[in-house]
C-alpha cells in the first residue's frame, strides 16, 4: 500500500497530509494520556507497535502472482482504540520511508491516511459491531484485523485512482486497475493477518488477562476470572 516517493501530484500529497495530520496529533495526545494514566500499559503498547513493525516487513506472495504485506494495525486498534494506532502506524511508515525508500515523505500523508487512520478505524468498527451482536471474541478479532488490512489497500487504490484517473475509464476505470493490483492481492494476506492477530490475542488472553480486562477486551463476569485478575493486580 506504500505509494512511492514522488508518485502523488503535489496537490494530492498536501491534501492527504492535511487530512492525516489531525488524526496523528489527536493520536499522539491519546497515546501520551494512556501512558501517563496507565504506565503499566506501555509494554503492551510497545508490543502493539512491534506487531505492526513485523507484519509490515513481511512481504508475502499472493494468489494474484504478486507480493504484498499485511499492516498489523488491527491488533493495536482493538486493544487501545484507533487513535493510538495513528501514531504507531506513522512511526512504522516513517521508518520505511527514511531507511528503506519504501513509501516516501511526500506520500507519507496519503500512506498514513490509509494504513494508520482508515485501517485501524475500519478494523475497530467491524470488531465492535461484531462484539455488540454477541460474536465470540476471537471471531470478532479475526474480522477486525481482516477489515483493517483490506480497507487500507482499498483506500490506497482510491487515492491513486483520484490522482491518476484513467484516460478512457475515468476514476472508476483507474479504481478497477489499482484495485486489482492492491485489493485483490490483499485478500489472502488479510486472512493471514486475521489469523496472526487471533494467535497473538490468544496468547494475550493467556498471559495478560488483567490488562485485557482493563482495556475492555475481556469482560469479568466469571468468578474464576476475577480471582485470576486480582492475583495479577496484586503482584503487578
Amino acid at each position: 500500500m506504500h505509494i512511492a516517493e514522488g508518485f502523488l501530484p503535489p496537490v494530492h500529497a498536501v491534501a492527504w497530509g492535511v487530512a492525516s495530520a489531525p488524526f496523528v496529533v489527536h493520536g499522539a495526545r491519546s497515546l501520551i494520556r494512556e501512558v501517563r494514566e496507565h504506565p503499566e500499559s506501555t509494554l503492551l503498547l510497545g508490543a502493539s507497535g512491534a506487531f505492526t513493525f513485523v507484519l509490515s516487513a513481511l512481504k508475502l506472495p499472493s494468489v494474484t502472482g504478486s507480493c504484498s504485506h499485511p499492516t498489523g494495525t488491527g491488533l493495536g486498534a482493538i486493544l487501545f482504540r484507533p487513535p493510538v494506532m495513528a501514531v504507531l502506524g506513522t512511526i512504522t511508515l516513517l521508518f520505511q520511508a527514511l531507511l528503506l525508500a519504501h513509501g516516501g515523505l511526500t506520500t507519507l500523508g496519503a500512506n498514513v491516511f490509509s494504513m494508520a487512520v482508515v485501517g485501524p478505524w475500519a478494523g475497530y468498527g467491524v470488531y465492535r459491531l461484531l462484539r455488540r451482536y454477541g460474536v465470540p471474541l476471537m471471531v470478532a478479532v479475526f474480522f477486525g484485523a481482516f477489515a483493517a488490512d483490506l480497507s487500507t489497500y482499498c483506500v490506497t487504490s482510491v487515492q491513486l485512482a483520484l490522482a491518476f484517473p484513467d484516460p478512457a475509464g475515468g476514476f472508476l476505470g483507474a479504481l478497477g486497475k489499482f484495485g486489482s493490483i492492491f485489493a485483490v492481492t490483499q485478500i489472502p494476506l488479510a486472512v493471514s493477518e486475521g489469523l496472526l492477530t487471533v494467535l497473538v490475542m490468544r496468547m494475550l488472553v493467556q498471559s495478560s488477562r488483567g490488562e485485557l480486562t482493563r482495556l475492555g477486551v475481556l469482560v469479568t463476569s466469571v468468578a474464576g476470572r476475577k480471582t485470576a485478575d486480582s492475583a495479577e493486580a496484586v503482584t503487578r
Binding site: A50, F164, A174, L196, S207
Partner: protein, 122 residues
C-alpha cells in the same frame, strides 16, 4: 501438546499454507516478473495511465543494493519480533513467579492453621 498449543500451531500452519500455496501452484508464472511487489506494479500502472508523469521527489536515502534493502527489512522484522518476544517472555516469567509465591504462601498457611482451612482456588 495441549489443546491450546494445538490451536496456535494450526493457526501458524494456516498462515504458512496461505503463503506457500501461490508459490507451489506457480500462480505468478503468467507474469513477466513473478511475485513482484504490488507497490511496484502500481508504479507501472501509473506510468501506463499517465506516461508523462514524472515523480517530483526522490527518496532522501535509498539502500544501495537489494542485499542492504533486505537487511533493513530483516532489521525491521527482528526489532518487532524482539519486542513481542520480550513482552510474552516477561509475562510468562511474572506469572510463574506469582504461582510460586502463591504456592509458598499456601504451604506456609497450611502449616499454620491446620488442614481445615479452605484452600484458595486458582
Amino acid at each position: 501438546m495441549s489443546r491450546n498449543a494445538k490451536i496456535n500451531t494450526l493457526l501458524l500452519a494456516l498462515v504458512a499454507a496461505l503463503a506457500v500455496i501461490p508459490l507451489v501452484f506457480g500462480l505468478g508464472d503468467h507474469k513477466e516478473e513473478p511475485f513482484a511487489g504490488a507497490d511496484a506494479e502500481a508504479e507501472t500502472a501509473i506510468t501506463e495511465i499517465d506516461p508523462d508523469y514524472e515523480p517530483w521527489f526522490s527518496p532522501l536515502y535509498e539502500p544501495p543494493s537489494g542485499e542492504i534493502e533486505s537487511a533493513l527489512f530483516a532489521l525491521q522484522a527482528a526489532l518487532g519480533a524482539g519486542v513481542i518476544a520480550y513482552y510474552f517472555g516477561l509475562r510468562r516469567g511474572r506469572r510463574q513467579g506469582e504461582t510460586r509465591a502463591l504456592e509458598r504462601l499456601r504451604a506456609e498457611g497450611d502449616l499454620g492453621d491446620g488442614a481445615g482451612s479452605p484452600r484458595p482456588r486458582i
